[in-house]
Symmetry: C5
Subunit: 324 residues, 5 copies
Amino acid sequence: MIVDQAVYRDGKRMHCGDLSDELELLRRRGEGFIWIGLKDPTDAEFALVNDELQLHPLAVEDAVKGNQRPKLEVYDGSLFIVLKTLRYVEATSDIETGEVMLFVGDQFVVTVRRGEANPLAGVRSGLEHSPEHLEHGPLAVAYSVIDSIVDNYTVIDTELEEDLDRIERQVFSGSREVHAPSIYNLKREVLEFKRASVPLAEPLRRLAEDEELPGMKDEARPFFRDISDHLLRVNDHAESYDRLLTDVLNAHLAQISVQQNDDMRRISAWVAMAAVPTMIAGIYGMNFDNMPELHYHYGYFIVLGVMAVACLGLYRAFRRSGWL
Amino acid sequence: MIVDQAVYRDGKRMHCGDLSDELELLRRRGEGFIWIGLKDPTDAEFALVNDELQLHPLAVEDAVKGNQRPKLEVYDGSLFIVLKTLRYVEATSDIETGEVMLFVGDQFVVTVRRGEANPLAGVRSGLEHSPEHLEHGPLAVAYSVIDSIVDNYTVIDTELEEDLDRIERQVFSGSREVHAPSIYNLKREVLEFKRASVPLAEPLRRLAEDEELPGMKDEARPFFRDISDHLLRVNDHAESYDRLLTDVLNAHLAQISVQQNDDMRRISAWVAMAAVPTMIAGIYGMNFDNMPELHYHYGYFIVLGVMAVACLGLYRAFRRSGWL
Amino acid sequence: MIVDQAVYRDGKRMHCGDLSDELELLRRRGEGFIWIGLKDPTDAEFALVNDELQLHPLAVEDAVKGNQRPKLEVYDGSLFIVLKTLRYVEATSDIETGEVMLFVGDQFVVTVRRGEANPLAGVRSGLEHSPEHLEHGPLAVAYSVIDSIVDNYTVIDTELEEDLDRIERQVFSGSREVHAPSIYNLKREVLEFKRASVPLAEPLRRLAEDEELPGMKDEARPFFRDISDHLLRVNDHAESYDRLLTDVLNAHLAQISVQQNDDMRRISAWVAMAAVPTMIAGIYGMNFDNMPELHYHYGYFIVLGVMAVACLGLYRAFRRSGWL
Amino acid sequence: MIVDQAVYRDGKRMHCGDLSDELELLRRRGEGFIWIGLKDPTDAEFALVNDELQLHPLAVEDAVKGNQRPKLEVYDGSLFIVLKTLRYVEATSDIETGEVMLFVGDQFVVTVRRGEANPLAGVRSGLEHSPEHLEHGPLAVAYSVIDSIVDNYTVIDTELEEDLDRIERQVFSGSREVHAPSIYNLKREVLEFKRASVPLAEPLRRLAEDEELPGMKDEARPFFRDISDHLLRVNDHAESYDRLLTDVLNAHLAQISVQQNDDMRRISAWVAMAAVPTMIAGIYGMNFDNMPELHYHYGYFIVLGVMAVACLGLYRAFRRSGWL
Amino acid sequence: MIVDQAVYRDGKRMHCGDLSDELELLRRRGEGFIWIGLKDPTDAEFALVNDELQLHPLAVEDAVKGNQRPKLEVYDGSLFIVLKTLRYVEATSDIETGEVMLFVGDQFVVTVRRGEANPLAGVRSGLEHSPEHLEHGPLAVAYSVIDSIVDNYTVIDTELEEDLDRIERQVFSGSREVHAPSIYNLKREVLEFKRASVPLAEPLRRLAEDEELPGMKDEARPFFRDISDHLLRVNDHAESYDRLLTDVLNAHLAQISVQQNDDMRRISAWVAMAAVPTMIAGIYGMNFDNMPELHYHYGYFIVLGVMAVACLGLYRAFRRSGWL
Ligand SMILES: [Mg+2]
Ligand SMILES: [Mg+2]
Ligand SMILES: [Mg+2]
Ligand SMILES: [Mg+2]
Ligand SMILES: [Mg+2]
Ligand SMILES: [Mg+2]
Ligand SMILES: [Mg+2]
Ligand SMILES: [Mg+2]
Ligand SMILES: [Mg+2]
Ligand SMILES: [Mg+2]
Ligand SMILES: [Mg+2]
Ligand SMILES: [Mg+2]
Ligand SMILES: [Mg+2]
Ligand SMILES: [Mg+2]
Ligand SMILES: [Mg+2]
Ligand SMILES: [Mg+2]
Ligand SMILES: [Mg+2]
Ligand SMILES: [Mg+2]
Ligand SMILES: [Mg+2]
Ligand SMILES: [Mg+2]
Ligand SMILES: [Mg+2]
Ligand SMILES: [Mg+2]
Ligand SMILES: [Mg+2]
Ligand SMILES: [Mg+2]
Ligand SMILES: [Mg+2]
Ligand SMILES: [Mg+2]
Ligand SMILES: [Mg+2]
Ligand SMILES: [Mg+2]
Ligand SMILES: [Mg+2]
Ligand SMILES: [Mg+2]
Ligand SMILES: [Mg+2]
């Protein structure tokens, strides 16, 4: 689906008529560019665009098939950039991964979006309100798209941190629930996050440093390095969430195991305490003819007393060794 | 066994007569190439081919002995490439490893296949239907073979992901089975997968970047980089399956241990509850002459009541502390 | 908030009047520099400074938003440095992270501070007492600030080591407390520490080695390498605390589990010992008509003796196998 | 001990007379070389050889002291190579490490062997049967020695794999033995293996690539790269055995713990079942005057029935919850 | 404290008079050097030396403060080297860390020693007995000092290996002691060892390879590479001790847990066996009027037999399932 397409000249949006006419006009003038926004394009829709722009077949294959790794390719003077978009679903603490692909030529930029996350929503209107940025051409669009996606990573980074904090609080609150599955789930989401953000570091490094990227101007590099920087920060965080989750799992297992063993010890101690009077009662329940104690007037009460004293003694001993 | 051999000129297949005559003809014309397909060749069969093509003895040794690491070697102007083929056996979730070796000269390509997996099946016929690819010569054949093998990696990647998902569901379903062996088995298959795919990254990087590979043209490089890209993606995935399997094992052990301890606690609590009436009954089973309670008219019923109340009290206390 | 601002010429502090007048004067003379100290500046406060110094917008954005990664950027001939400051709260063994940012031009230096830690307190007054350092200009200020921050890292390094030592003592003292949460907490603080100190290694390496840093003189490099050195040492330590904490956790869990199992074994052994007399007593409590032992004159006492002997035998056996 | 020494010219073995005469002769002719084989040489024995060949003192020190790391050194135009030899003792699954050192000059090669493993046994006789290899001089000897040692690594690699397979089968067979010590032992042997093979990668890489090795010809390089390749394969394997052993240990512990807890649960369930009739019997063993049930004609049989029903009910409940 | 100082010319020791006179004399002659040995110098003592030699203030700061990372710095044509010395205390298996610093100029060498370990004891006298080494000047002294320190690392490496072996023997001997604390302690010492030896690799590599070190001659490089080699070997070992200790801890915990659970199972099995006669006895202890068995003449003996048979049956069943 073609979401939107427009021609931009001097930072101002113009109507975009027939694609091939507009492209010829742009080439003749040598300034301005066309920006085409696609969403989940079919082969046919993409063919319409590609007929005019003559994109590299490998880039086209990637754009149509989707599900690529974040990367940056240079094909005959134009850039092809793949980014992963992330969406955080609060209810389930689930991260969903989408994709944005950018074809950046000297007089055109094509954005292809896949998946539910819509990080491009505000980018076009934002840029149309700041013509001084749009004037810099297709790479300014690429910058805005990437910046918006990476800014969103930092938002999700915060969500993950919150989820980790919540799990830590639950685990260390002393409650008796088992949190292993939710720790594992969070670890899985952190991994999904890292799968999107970690491989983007290299393309961003090249945008900031590679001397041979077509169309890149030196004064634009610090802007890409700035994004690169924010990316490295979230990557650092993700790495530490990953490691902390392993540690929190171990600490959690320790606590559960200790609690359960504690309960068992307590129950066993009570059983042990009951075993003593039972044994004594058993002895005086024997039917021997000659058991002198049985005929003592206070024999029964003395034995009751002995039982009580034994239990109390055991109770104290168990208290003292921390078993009760 | 020689599976198939043919001469290709202008992208079209021609009959291949006597090997040495055909090679001489090709060399004289300076265009076209011969493609020989071998499967588990014996020394003698390989010698026939080698007598004409004069391959490097080390490459020949590797091809005859098999069981090599994925790699790329340049010997006197021709390439020698080793790849691992993988086959996924659905019934047992087992990965089986085979091998494909490629000798790529300027006017010949020899493919040697070992093991059950047959990733070359469709490659020759596929290429014969697209003469525009075959025209590019032996390296186009190499590209198609490697592309087909790596595409198959992505298929197996999906199978592994499914197996991991299934294990996760089983582990977190709360069932009481022990899944440690199947987790370990899957880990072993993931390792077998990585052993095939991870070392291929370097040969593919060289095919995409190395300036000194004989016969490589610049416009072919992006195609090899494209494969390289897909390979990196499956390598990423395999790495994360590996780590997740460790985590899932830990979480699984936690759950089993918690469940079992829970059961023990429950059984012990019931035993503890039975111990109280037993103890009381023991006391009133004693044979002392003077036990006034025994002569109360409702003594027996009162004691039964006391027992019931004690058990109920214990039951409530155990419920409250979550032991029952 | 502007904390302090002054002009320094020949290593001596001078009053700083209107900012733009002072800057023009400095530029005309070609020597001396201005040092502006800010704390948690608002956009408006920062704009006042920026109007005169024309800092790069990306650096300004970082300074106003805060929460950056340690880094070093070169923007049009001036340096922008971000550092994390750390504060150790003795009572809670908590590390708190703040931030210091430095804009270092050839005739100005701006320090921006965020967070509670105040590592710059003594730096300005210290420098004002050693004019021979101040003479070297803005980079001497940068050196002093970074040196002071990294010196503080070594102080906190010591605190962390003390905390680790304390935990080790507690864990290996044989007490029955569970220390998993405090081990985890310390690990978290170590990670916070590493998040501040590890990424600073690269900026310091560049200050010591990068040939193209504006304003850097060769004789200043060893001083930055000296800081770099101290940083590497604390990074080494932090890494080893991290690993030791994992090991101490494992050793701790081992001990707790062993202790608890020990207790259970002891309780069970006592219960087992009580079971024997109970069983014997039960036998002689049976009501068969014909039980000859019951009529032996010393039957009761013999049975008591048998019980005692059995218990003693068990006790000895349990002692011998280490169960009691 | 001097094991063997001979002069080789044109690939043919000749008798070796007085060492210094032979060396002078070789130098005058400018072709042929001498090959001296030593085993555990004493200082004196080594001095005899060294007097003539003037080896570098550091290499001599290493050769006499032994126990070095695998490495390659270039001393004044001659190579000094250290390799670890491995021997697998089937009975104990133990790996034993020995050492081979090579001094490779342009007209001499000295091989020094330490330890029981004898990987050089077949090398000399093998070379003497293929004069076309021997013609290439001292480096051909070095190649054969290294090739033979690394070939032996692949043999041991297979043994280790077998041992791992055996342990896996034992662990997952469901038997009740504890295999932790043998898992640990195998891990130790794998580490001994890695200590020999992993550091050899760098010397082999240099033999295959370093442009400045004295005496190395370009056509010899692929042969050393071939060994390097085989080495990388065994190194990969060793690494994965190492990791799998950790996993197998964890899975093993899981199984043992589960089995033992299972047993405990089963025993406790039986004890719980016996507790119910014991309790009921206790009640009707009480000596109250007024216990109407005692006088029912079928009271005893009814109670026996109640006991049986209770036990059966418990048995069924335990079966249903998987405790029995 | 100045431990010793002397002038060396032509490899021979000469008396050293007033420091500044001697230095002037040495400079005029252009040969010979002075060697000053300090131990835990105070600021004042160091100032005396520094006044004459004009060392770099950062090196001086490090030497006076101590507690540096192993490193190599070049300051205006002279080298500053920091090494960690280690001492192994047999009684407590404790490693103690000291420090040696070297200032190496073209006509002076200053050695500064801190801590109890005294690795320099034999170095000066050793060198004075081999004038052919001393002739090479200050770097020969540096070589001897570093060689002696690294040789000592290999001694301690052996001690650590012995300690690891001892722990392994204890753990796998089947004894019932808990070794977790001593495993942890050894791990800590291994880490202390690595903290001293691992960072020394880089300085030694530079001494062996860096083309720009002042005063270094090419024929001296192999000697430093030789030390570097020995260092790499002990680093390898330390790394493997570290990993083995983790594995031995896991295997140890496994064994303890298995042993304890085994004990519990055994005790519980005995308790279960006693529960059966107790239950039967309880039944025949009931006071029903109509219990025909009680009046059988051999009833009592039959029941005793039934009890014995039941116990024996249970005993056999428990034996068969490996519970006893
Ligand atoms: Mg959330
Ligand atoms: Mg998700
Ligand atoms: Mg941003
Ligand atoms: Mg949230
Ligand atoms: Mg920024
Ligand atoms: Mg930004
Ligand atoms: Mg499957
Ligand atoms: Mg398989
Ligand atoms: Mg493909
Ligand atoms: Mg499937
Ligand atoms: Mg692609
Ligand atoms: Mg493709
Ligand atoms: Mg503290
Ligand atoms: Mg904190
Ligand atoms: Mg400092
Ligand atoms: Mg300092
Ligand atoms: Mg403190
Ligand atoms: Mg320094
Ligand atoms: Mg074996
Ligand atoms: Mg061994
Ligand atoms: Mg070989
Ligand atoms: Mg075998
Ligand atoms: Mg080979
Ligand atoms: Mg070979
Ligand atoms: Mg310092
Ligand atoms: Mg010792
Ligand atoms: Mg120590
Ligand atoms: Mg040495
Ligand atoms: Mg030496
Ligand atoms: Mg010792
Ligand atoms: Mg040596």
